[in-house]
Each structure stands twice: as C-alpha cells, then as structure tokens.
Symmetry: C2
Subunit: 155 residues, 2 copies
DNA sequence: CATGATAATGATATGGTATATCATATCTAG
DNA sequence: CTAGATATGATATACCATATCATTATCATG
C-alpha cells in the first residue's frame, strides 16, 4: 500500500470518526495502520506486540481490545470470528453506505479478501431464512478458501 | 425430543462411527446426548459441567475437547466459531450424504436452526469467489438472526 | 487365552483470547 | 477554567484451546 493511499484512508477514517462524535486518536490511528499494512489478519495480542515493537511507551493488550471495539463500531475494522483475528475494512474510502462484508480466507496463507456478494444472492438467502422462521440481522460471512497463489504453489 | 427419537439418533450415530472404524463409547454417547437435548449451543466447559452434574466419575474438560473433535470428524457435531460453542448435527438420521451446514443463530435466545441452503445459491456464491481468485473449500455459514419467538416477544 | 496393535482416556501444564472494574488522564464546550 | 464526556492505564480474572506423556480399554490374530 502506497503512503498516499494510506494517507487517503486515514483522512477518510478521521472523517468517519468525527462525524459520529468520536476521535481517531494517535493510538487508534496506529492500530488501524498496523492492520492496513498487514498482509494477514492479526490478533489483539499480535497487534499489541507490533505496536510495542516501534513505540517508546507500551500498549497493554486490554487497550488494544478497546481500540478494536471502537474501530469495529465505526466499521473501520472487522473481526474474523473463525480465526479470532482482526482485519481493516477494505472499503474505508468508498463513499457508499457499508454493505455487509463477506470474507474469503485462504486456508494456506491466511490472506483475506473482502468482497461484496451480489445483492440477488443475499436476497435469496434472506428468503430462505424467513421460510425457516428467522430474520437476518447481520450476514457477515467467512468462507474458508484457497487463494490462486497457494493453489499454484501446491500444484 | 422424545426418547424414541433420541434412541433412533443414537443408533444411527453408532452406525456412522462403526462404519468409519471408530466407536461411539459411553462417554462420547453422553456428550452427544447432552448436545442433542440442549436448546442452545454449549461450550466444552459447559459440557464438562453438565456431564459431571450427573456422573460419579468426573470428566476433565480436555477429554470433552477430544470427544468433540471426534464427533466433529464424524459430522455428528458442528462447532459454531462465532460463539465458540458446539451443537449436535440436526441431520444425523438423514441417510443422504452430508451437505455443508448453514446455521441461523438467534441473537436473543441463542437458539440455532441448521438449514440447507439451496444449491443454486451456493453455486452462485462459488462463481463469485472464483472471480475473486479464490476457491471455496468449506462453506459453513453462521448467520446472526432473530427467531420468530423473540421477535414476537420484543413487539 | 495371551499378545501386540490400535483406539480411547487420564492427567498436568501451558498458551491464547477476552471481559470486568476501578483509577487516571485528556479533550472540548460552555 | 471547570464540568462532563471521552479515552486510556492498570490489575485481576475468566474463558477457550492445544500439547504432551502416561495409562487403560478394545479387538483381531496367532
């Protein structure tokens, strides 16, 4: 990710936070940045380590959890519950309202791609769910996959 | 769940285990039964407590994990990774080959319904995933919902 | 029925994930 | 400048899960 791109994302993230009456503090900014520049999802403890590796003052893990909670509430970060790890939202600079995210997680290299699933599919899904007597609240989906790179390497 | 129904499930579960060269021991049977009669998913530690509440000898949690691993490998039990809890498969007595399970989880009462999603939807999903450069390995999906009961109670 | 291979369980230690709570600091608006 | 809201520090604790080595049970076979 280029510095310019990172910069643009941070500016937008700041906007999002201010708009909802919060603040994107230095620590929150740094945690978000660490997630943005990481190739793989990170756990709260890994984030604390990464933070402390390049910082004078140390960040306790508990603060990382709080910061992640906040960033999640602003939809800047998503939690992958199948891995207990966290990832930056891929669509921070998109202006459109956030859709429910869908994640393709590579079983081999842990790379994650956040995609938007066609509305038609989600609608169909919703219909089946209503038939079963439930109503969909949040359709974040985590799909276990293998990415192209890893498939080639295996072959 | 009626005793007869439980009985039928257990007999089928036994068949499944024997067929793949394993055994449905008393302890495994009891853990499966506890999951079958529970209205909500249970954690490994909750299962250990439930087991020990009605047993002379005590079951260490670590054994519960091993038993769950086994039952999962036989597809008699599923893990809900969004809740770190376990649930009995709803389709043990079905003779057809197991499909990938999809779970509707009620946010309010934690009830879970295991449904089969129309093949067409899964196929569409797979197509989009290939477009994104990934290949689907396992499409177990956990969907956060509200069930009919809880919706009525809220109204 | 003795035996050895395999399957299953016991027991202990340890590591990873997450929340609760109370105290302290920082920012912002009036 | 100060009160209230927001954010962070610090400590304790609970919950979830795996690793490892020892022991016991089961079963096919000689």
């Amino acid at each position: 990710m280029s510095p310019e791109q990172l910069n643009r994302i941070m500016t937008k993230a700041q906007d999002v936070c201010v708009h909802s009456g919060g603040r994107l503090t230095e620590k929150r900014k740094r945690i978000l940045e660490l997630l943005l520049i990481s190739d793989t999802p990170l756990s709260a403890y890994e984030l604390a380590d990464a933070y402390n590796a390049h910082a004078a003052a140390s960040m306790p893990t508990m603060s990382v959890y709080r910061i992640l909670d906040y960033l999640e509430s602003e939809q800047l970060v998503h939690k992958l519950s199948s891995a207990n790890k966290y990832i930056a939202c891929s669509h921070i600079t998109c202006s459109h309202a956030h859709k429910v995210p869908q994640f393709l997680i590579c079983r081999e290299c842990q790379s994650v791609k956040e995609i938007a699933i066609a509305k038609g599919i989600i609608d169909e899904l919703g219909k089946q769910i209503v038939d079963a007597g439930y109503n969909l609240i949040n359709s974040q989906i985590e799909l276990q996959c293998v990415c192209e790179n890893c498939m080639e390497n295996a072959a």
